[in-house]
Amino acid sequence: MIPVDYYLFLSLALFTIGVIGVLTRRNVIIMLMSIELILNAVNINLMVFSRMWGSVDGQVFAIFIITDAAAEAAVGLGIILAFFHNRETVLADEMDIMKW
């Protein structure tokens, strides 16, 4: 039997790596991908607890999270494409139009 703790450690590891990815990378697309990583870590947590308590509510919530991730990825990538057509860059440091 795999203890619940192991699943939680795995999700913690993925979450931490995702957070570090979002905060340290300059490329906006990699930042978006790290956000997907964070969402997946949360999904693993939800699934483990849904299994532990024997209800499917956790799985339904995970479906909503996946749906939400799809919507966010679509809009985010659309924004990146629009910005790229304007400024020819995908680095977060160089997206500073609104700086005073």
């Binding site: 790596i17 697309i29 693993i44 499917v56 799985q59 479906i63 809009v75 659309g78």
Partner: protein, 170 residues
């Protein structure tokens, strides 16, 4: 059967963490996308180990077969040759590391505090054939309102993405 479960869990867990680390550190964005695909597939494998077969298939079809295809398309459209030679990491790695440590400490404390209550019930010999039906039941009865809101959200996101990505005819 037990050892197979444990072996599979170790395999998927190691694959997920190694792919995640590689994703965050690769210079080549396309390689990063492929590593994210590997991470998502190992997460799907973990869902299957937890007897959630419908979520396994939803993860593969939607996340890997839909969202990641979108990512790969956009990566190929914005692929600059210079991006391989630019600096990859910004200067805030120290703060990020500290923040990650704080988060990890909080989480580990939460696990330690609740360690007595975390016990998985015994798994059945095979995956219950009713998982898809159970999820569908819950989704279309209790969670009907969030379901409808999610579909409107997807519609809005679709329209928004099309509008944002269109080239303006100047």
């Amino acid at each position: 059967m037990q050892t197979l479960n444990q072996a599979l869990f170790i395999f998927f867990a190691v694959l997920a963490v190694v792919s995640a680390i590689l994703l965050v550190t690769r210079r080549n964005i396309v390689h990063g996308a492929v590593f994210l695909i590997t991470t998502l597939l190992s997460t799907a494998g973990i869902f299957l180990l937890l007897e959630a077969e419908f979520l396994f298939i939803v993860q593969v079809i939607l996340y890997v077969g839909g969202i990641m295809v979108l990512f790969v398309f956009v990566i190929m459209l914005v692929n600059l040759d210079d991006s391989m030679r630019q600096v990859q990491f910004n200067r805030q790695w120290f703060v990020a590391g500290a923040l990650a440590l704080v988060l990890a400490a909080q989480f580990l404390f939460a696990i330690w505090a609740g360690r007595g209550a975390l016990r998985l019930p015994a798994m059945a010999g095979e995956i219950s054939p009713k998982n898809t039906e159970a999820v569908a039941d819950a989704l279309f009865s209790h969670y009907m309102l969030p379901f409808e809101i999610a579909s409107i959200l997807l519609l809005v996101a679709m329209i928004g993405a099309v509008v944002m990505a269109k080239r303006r005819v100047e």
